[in-house]
């Protein structure tokens, strides 16, 4: 279903990009996502799975490189265009959109370093890849550490908290050992990782490092993909490192600025989650809206019942709010460096919450049908539920946001722009 865009400044190019993404989301992503949702996690990642069809088609069209600049072979899109495309993709599937996003994550991060060697080795081959043979993942979460990665709690610097993945420098190589948890999105199929590890345990979780590495190195192995409640089309799984050696320059961030770099990366990811949640919320609203026009109760379509109309309007308002908020934050944080993390946290926590509320209400409007796998709404509800925890539980993120605004609010323009 189309929607009226209240931004009247969109260019013809913007609209063309959005329409092309919508076509792909409708014709490719949605049918494949529904197939994958009914499969076991092993079947999802098996050779011949429709997940591979999706990835190959997405790469052929360049949707894996929406974040990357033209100069390295990326699409070189403006922040608004990145939003327009990704809302459509998430309308097609929340989980597959995240998969595509994490496929790009190590390469996007390598790009930001400006390091020619990393760009040559990782970024340019990724941008020129059209068969989905190069796939990234975001290897941050660990079995013992989820919200421990939030840099605003006292325990973040406690040496009592030991990372599950350790890296030590031996000559010109880093040697990496340990385990990432089953929540690594795209981890089961990734060829590369944006890997977070602990370098200096005396600083606790603050003593971390971030590197880009391929996952075909000796000592790397993977666990089974995880079975979970929502976003079953997004494979997630453990990655193990047993004395894996990588060249020194792959570690582009060390403890001297790790907390700040972590904040920058989380800001990008949280802003993206706001966009994906907008797409999913819109999908849930549309399902309920269409159903309400067709379902007859009391002799009339249920949209004619006052209570249903009121609830549909609340859902519509939430979708519009999600879009306005996530666009504003995308425009802000992809236009200032370093980004302002509190706004990305607003986008992630609010948009995923509203997405969940819309999906919940959609199930309610569909009644018994909303509970069945026969209707897309049931999947959208499960997908939306997962997003309240994914990329940081909203409560923990809100606590982090509260800490940040306590420190920086109100920000001055000088704080953001002046040297």
């Amino acid at each position: 279903m189309d929607y009226f865009d209240i931004n009247l400044q969109l260019t013809e190019e913007d609209i063309e990009l959005r329409n092309a993404a919508r076509k792909f989301a409708e014709e490719v992503m949605r049918p494949i996502a529904r197939q994958l949702d009914l499969m076991s996690p092993d079947e999802v990642v098996a050779p011949g799975s429709p997940m591979w069809t999706f990835l190959r088609k997405a790469y052929e069209l360049g949707y894996h490189k929406t974040l990357l600049p033209e100069v390295y072979g990326g699409l070189g899109l403006a922040p608004m265009q990145i939003h327009l495309i990704n809302e459509e993709l998430a309308w097609g599937s929340f989980g597959l959109s995240i998969l595509l996003g994490v496929c790009a994550f190590p390469f996007f991060a390598a790009c930001l370093t400006g390091d020619e060697a990393l760009i040559e080795e990782f970024v340019i081959p990724f941008c020129s890849c059209t068969d989905a043979s190069i796939r990234g993942c975001w290897a941050i979460t660990e079995p013992e550490h989820g919200c421990d990665y939030l840099a605003y709690e006292d325990f973040f610097r406690s040496p009592k908290i030991r990372g599950n993945v350790q890296a030590r420098l031996e000559g010109d190589e880093w040697v990496i050992s340990g385990q990432k948890s089953a929540w690594v999105s795209g981890g089961s199929i990734a060829t590369h990782a944006l890997l977070f590890c602990q370098i200096d345990p005396s600083q606790g979780m603050a003593g971390g490092g971030i590197c880009v590495c391929s996952l075909d190195r000796e000592g790397t192995s993977k666990g089974k993909p995880l079975r979970k409640m929502g976003q079953r089309d997004l494979n997630q799984g453990e990655i193990f490192f047993d004395g894996v050696r990588i060249p020194k320059h792959y570690m582009f961030c060390e403890p001297d600025f790790y907390p700040q770099m972590l904040e920058m990366i989380l800001s990008s990811a949280n802003a993206a989650m706001g966009i994906f949640a907008t797409g999913c919320a819109r999908a849930a609203f549309e399902e309920a809206f269409q159903y309400a026009k067709e379902r007859i109760q009391g002799g009339v379509p249920i949209i004619q019942h006052r209570s249903v109309r009121q609830r549909l309007f609340d859902m519509f308002a939430k979708v519009e709010t999600c879009r306005a908020l996530s666009r504003a934050v995308m425009n802000l944080n992809f236009n200032v460096s370093p980004p302002l993390p509190e706004y990305s946290l607003v986008a992630k926590t609010r948009c995923t919450q509203m997405c969940f509320e819309v999906a919940h209400e959609a199930v309610q409007i569909l009644g018994g049908n909303g509970l069945t796998e026969e209707y897309l709404t049931e999947k959208l509800f499960r997908d939306a539920r997962a997003a309240l925890i994914e990329d940081g539980a909203n409560e923990a993120l809100s606590a982090a946001g509260g800490h940040i605004i306590g420190q920086v609010c109100p920000r001055s323009r000088a704080d953001v722009f002046e040297p």
Binding site: L68, P69, V71, Y72, P79, F252, C253, F257, F334, P419
Partner: protein, 133 residues
């Protein structure tokens, strides 16, 4: 002590550098094609420098320009950048560089500056600017 203590030296050094980049490298055509412009705002010393595919402006003429990208940093950070002694992600993360403008356009800019590095070193030698930072 700050590396640059003479604004006039900065002006001379960068007039030469940008002129070369614009006229003799891909920088000029690429900047013009992308309609890209950058305002550098430095502190210690206070300098406004505006660059696009056509040329460079300084001072008040630069300050009033509406650039696509604005980059703010100290003179020492500018110096380290051109000497390739700056860890860029670290400088951004630690807010030693603050930038405004679309991230993809900033990333487009970086490789275009590459031919300027040896020229900058030459300029440092010419104007006796220390390079052992």
């Amino acid at each position: 002590m700050a590396v640059f203590n003479d604004v006039e030296v900065i002006r001379k050094l960068f007039v030469d550098l940008w002129a070369h980049l614009i006229e003799k490298t891909e920088f000029g055509p690429q900047m013009r094609e992308a309609n890209l412009s950058v305002l550098f705002v430095t502190k210690d010393p206070d300098v406004h420098m505006y660059v696009d595919g056509h040329g460079v402006l300084f001072g008040e003429e630069a300050r009033v320009k509406d650039a696509v990208i604005t980059m703010s940093m100290s003179g020492d950070t500018v110096h380290k950048f051109w000497l390739k002694k700056l860890n860029l992600p670290k400088a951004l993360a630690l807010r030693q560089i603050k930038a405004k403008g679309p991230v993809p356009k900033m990333l487009k800019l970086l490789p275009l500056l590459k031919p300027g590095y040896p020229l900058y070193e030459e300029g440092c030698r010419k104007y006796n600017i220390p390079m052992d930072v």
